[in-house]
């Protein structure tokens, strides 16, 4: 297919379900940009899966015409892990909120990044719990008043990009739902990355953070410095825990074998050194044999 004649238009990735989001919610921007990114990369809807947890943002898979899994709160990544490992040829995209991904789902975030799982993960970070009506998230600033911190939030916040880098993600970016141009570039790059690509998207919640969040975030927007080299973990970390600025772009990018590469290597070796053809052959390995020959496989007969 030529670039002038794409088969899929952004609208082809739209489902006919109307979003339940509030008017003005940042998530609309994320959704529209995702539709465009998919069209740019000509993803086949039937070979694409969008996976999420629970939250306003996690409703997103319902608004995309691909396969979708609106899972449990905090558990998008385990589901995505199983889907991708079982069917490596599928494009798997995980999405969800900051509460979903960094509070209850924090451990899966850490380990998916560590494993360099071959998916893109788009976090729709509104610095609040939207769906449950406005409680503090781990991304909410210290001192902020929310429905669950009426005397001011006593907890420091965490930067999801910093966590991703330290956990082992090989591509880490930051975007803003109100800047669809940059966001489209970032999404496309994340979807094309080989390994775990984490994109933190600041996506305002007009209902629980007010209209001001949008303006404040926009006011803080900064691009990365000219000629920035994203290959250094240490350099990337200097653009984390920002307070007065919001640097968007590809903060970190490195090339490492992905989880599928490494599991593939294990499989290749196992199939070469000790292929098993049938259950019967497996059963035979449990019959005690006292010949002097070494047994096949990594661990010997049935690990007896």
């Amino acid at each position: 297919m030529s670039a002038e004649l794409p088969i899929f238009q952004p609208a082809d990735y739209k489902s006919d379900l109307k979003p339940v989001w509030c008017a003005g919610c940042g998530d609309f921007g994320v959704l529209a940009t995702l539709h465009r990114a998919m069209a740019k990369l000509q993803f086949e809807p039937w070979n694409t899966v969008v996976v999420s947890g629970i939250g306003c943002s996690s409703r997103l898979p319902g608004y995309v015409s691909t396969y979708g899994f609106n899972g449990l709160h905090g558990r998008a990544l385990p589901l995505a892990t199983g889907i991708k490992l079982a069917r490596p040829e599928l494009a798997v995209i995980a999405v969800g909120g900051d509460g979903d991904g960094v509070a209850i789902g924090g451990n899966h975030f850490l380990h998916s990044a560590r494993r360099n799982l071959d998916i893109a993960y788009f976090l729709m970070d509104n610095e609040i719990y939207g769906l449950t009506k406005g409680q503090a998230a781990p991304t909410t600033a210290t001192g902020e008043k929310t429905k669950s911190t009426l005397w001011g939030n006593p907890e420091p916040s965490v930067d999801p990009c910093e966590l991703a880098i330290s956990s082992g993600a090989t591509w880490v970016g930051r975007g803003f739902s109100g800047d669809p141009k940059t966001l489209l570039e970032l999404m496309t790059a994340a979807l094309e990355h080989h390994g775990f690509a984490f994109l933190n998207i600041l996506s305002p919640c007009v209902t629980w953070k007010g209209e001001k969040q949008f303006k404040e975030l926009r006011g803080k927007l900064r691009p990365l410095p000219e000629g920035y080299d994203p290959s250094s973990r240490i350099a990337a970390l200097s653009f984390t825990r920002e307070t007065d600025t919001l640097t968007t772009g590809v903060l970190y990018e490195t090339s490492e074998p992905s989880l599928l590469d490494r599991i593939g290597e294990v499989r290749r070796r196992a199939l070469e050194e000790g292929p098993i053809a049938s259950t019967r052959e497996l059963l035979e390995s449990f019959v005690p044999r006292f010949e002097e020959t070494g047994s096949k496989g990594a661990a010997g007969a049935g690990q007896a």
């Binding site: 489902s15 379900l17 809807p45 039937w46 070979n47 694409t48 899966v49 996976v51 409703r59 319902g62 015409s65 691909t66 396969y67 979708g68 899994f69 609106n70 899972g71 449990l72 558990r75 990544l77 385990p78 589901l79 995505a80 892990t81 199983g82 889907i83 991708k84 490992l85 079982a86 069917r87 040829e89 599928l90 451990n107 899966h108 850490l110 380990h111 599991i263 294990v266 499989r267 196992a270 199939l271 000790g274 098993i276 259950t279 019967r280 059963l283 035979e284 449990f286 019959v287 005690p288 044999r289 006292f290 010949e291 002097e292 496989g297 990594a298 661990a299 049935g302 690990q303 007896a304």
Partner: protein, 594 residues
């Protein structure tokens, strides 16, 4: 899959127990004896028990060897090998002696007294294992081989097999070690020859071809592979870890994938994801892990995703007794997770059954798009047992994919008569849908109206009826009509079978019903069973009598119903069952657990 057995009386059937300290080679003794017997074509069950030490503490191994099929570990030892009396004390509560049992023991140091044993007619035979080992191999380290010489000779196992087993085991250790072992073995055999005139423990019938010897956990893993499982996600936990370990070695050799996840929530999450993507997928765990999988179990039920969860029970609650058996995860398996969440619960009763039950778990999960919990327990999962060569035949059922017509306007959760809707998987063009743990309509979209909820609950539960009809498996033991009926489940089958056989041989009239599918329950068959017996005895290893309470919840039990239940911690024995057959019906009914 139903099975009606009329078991025969135990004969040509020996149980040998050995106890010693860490480093005494107790486990090696058990392994070698069990493998040699299996190699000789005999039927074998091997169990082990350990103290709290991570490694190097006291240990015991029990090997039961018989010329007929056996379904349970030996519960009363015909031969007990005591390498040290101190360690014997640690296992005293777990070792029962058969009447007239032979106790081959290291003489106590410095003439210390031998503890009194409460079984009558036990015959104590002092054998200086350590000294014989020193003489033969230059150190006491081969005392277990001396003991193996004595025991194998007394049982009449082929000496060349024993020798081959030993040499295979120590092949990496050099020829000097091997020669020492040979001499130690010979020293033991010589002791046995001296004893022979007064001991008659030889197994009369020789076996046939070598038999596979494997653990229940391994049988589960082999069953999964047979059923087409090519994705496994798990997290280590005693006593289920061997499933993860075996599959992490074997599945890649068949092109499959194993991932050890960060925790059990993630393990079952990955399994559900893989299954959503079309793979036959499984996880395995024990109580604490099953508890952590609770929320995800509900997701699999709600989103109707085939999911196989093997739970190898251990002592509970909480971290409990990780290395001991119990049957107390039944309630959680039946009732765990919030909301009305249909699932299927199966139970396996021994090693061979672990294979079959695993294949059934996959068949039911895939055919009915439902989570299936297979309950095993420590005493099945970690025992080693011979299985029949023909064991590994079992039909495999596939998931129903949408037809071309279904795909014209695909609805993932379309209403159907039996509740099963064709399930599309990624890659199928036109079958795209979004699934959901939220209540949803036929297309999978979130829907909170109460009529939709009622309709969808009905759809999901409707699937249980055809499952109950088409998978009515259970075992029935004993005569067609009996005074006493016993109902039990899972690993209790072994002890109950022996008790039933013995009782009928004594002229009593006892039958037993052992469901292999616990939910949905084979109610009609059980009703038939109840109609054929007088009194009923429920047998289980759970302090609160979970099985009995469960049966009551949907069935009226005979007025003369008694429950033999106790906490786990050691496997059920035939002796307990036999004793309670009479004592329970004589004693007044005591108050139940609140």
């Amino acid at each position: 899959m139903n099975e009606v057995e009329v078991a025969e009386l135990k004969s040509d059937d020996r149980t040998i127990t050995i106890v010693g300290a860490g480093g005494d080679g107790v486990v090696t003794f058990g392994d070698l004896l069990a493998q040699s017997a299996a190699h000789a074509g005999l039927h074998v069950v091997l169990t082990e028990s350990y103290g709290p030490q991570i490694r190097g503490g006291e240990a015991s191994a029990t090997v039961r060897i018989a010329s007929r099929e056996i379904g349970a570990p030996g519960d009363a030892a015909d031969i007990v090998v005591v390498l040290r009396w101190d360690d014997f004390e640690r296992f005293r509560g777990e070792i029962a002696f058969a009447p007239g049992a032979l106790v081959l023991h290291e003489p106590p140091a410095d003439g210390a007294a031998i503890p009194t044993l409460d079984t009558p007619n036990v015959r104590l035979v002092p054998i200086p294992f350590a000294e014989l080992s020193r003489g033969a191999a230059g150190s006491p380290g081969a005392r277990n081989i001396v003991a193996l010489g004595v025991v194998s000779q007394l049982l009449g196992l082929p000496p060349e097999t024993i020798r081959a087993a030993i040499s295979h085991r120590f092949r990496a250790k050099g020829s000097e070690r091997m020669e020492g072992n040979e001499r130690a073995l010979a020293a033991g055999q010589a002791v046995a020859r001296d004893l022979a005139p007064t001991v008659d423990l030889a197994l009369s019938s020789a076996g046939g071809a070598p038999r596979p010897l494997l653990s229940g956990n391994e049988a589960v893993a082999v069953g999964a592979i047979h059923a087409g499982c090519r994705f496994f996600a798990g997290y280590p936990i005693t006593p289920s870890t061997e499933i993860l370990q075996f599959l992490s070695e074997s599945l890649p050799r068949m092109g499959g994938t194993v991932i050890q996840t960060e925790d059990e929530l993630s393990a079952i999450g990955a399994v559900i994801g893989a299954s959503f993507a079309g793979a036959r997928a499984m996880t395995a765990t024990s109580g604490p892990g099953l508890s952590l999988m609770t929320e995800m179990l509900g997701l699999a039920s709600m989103a109707e995703i085939p999911t196989v969860i093997v739970n190898v029970q251990r002592g509970g609650p909480s971290t409990g007794n990780p290395t001991k058996t119990e049957q107390s995860d039944l309630w959680h398996s039946l009732y765990g997770t919030h909301g009305d969440a249909p699932r299927v619960v199966l139970a396996c009763s021994d090693v061979e059954d672990s294979f079959h039950a695993t294949v059934e778990a996959f068949n039911i999960a895939e055919e009915y798009q439902i989570p299936v919990i297979l309950l095993s327990d420590q005493s099945i999962g970690q025992r080693k047992q011979t299985i029949s060569g023909s064991a590994l035949e079992h039909e495999v059922v596939q998931r129903a994919l949408p037809s071309a017509q279904d795909l014209e306007k695909y609805e993932r959760y379309r209403e159907t008569e039996n509740g099963v809707s064709p399930m599309s998987v990624p890659g199928i063009r036109g079958g795209e849908y979004q699934t959901n743990g939220l209540e949803h309509d036929a297309s999978g979209r979130p829907a909170s109206m109460y009529l939709t909820h009622e309709k969808m609950n009905a759809k999901r539960y409707r699937k249980l009826w055809p499952i109950r009809e088409s998978y009515r498996f259970f075992r029935r033991l004993g005569p067609e009509r009996a005074d006493l009926g016993i109902v039990c489940w899972g690993s209790s089958l072994g002890a109950v079978r022996e008790a039933v056989t013995a009782a009928n041989a004594r002229g009593e009239s006892v039958a037993a019903f052992v469901p292999r599918m616990l939910y949905p329950f084979p109610k009609k068959d059980f009703e038939k069973f109840l109609a054929s017996v007088g009194r009923l005895m429920v047998v289980e290893l759970s302090y609160t009598a979970q099985f009995y309470r469960y049966l009551r919840s949907f069935m009226n039990l005979p007025e003369q119903t008694r429950v033999y239940k106790r906490s786990g911690g050691k496997p059920l024995t035939a002796r307990e069952v036999e004793e309670s057959m009479t004592t329970l019906f004589e004693a007044p009914v005591t108050r139940a657990v609140a």
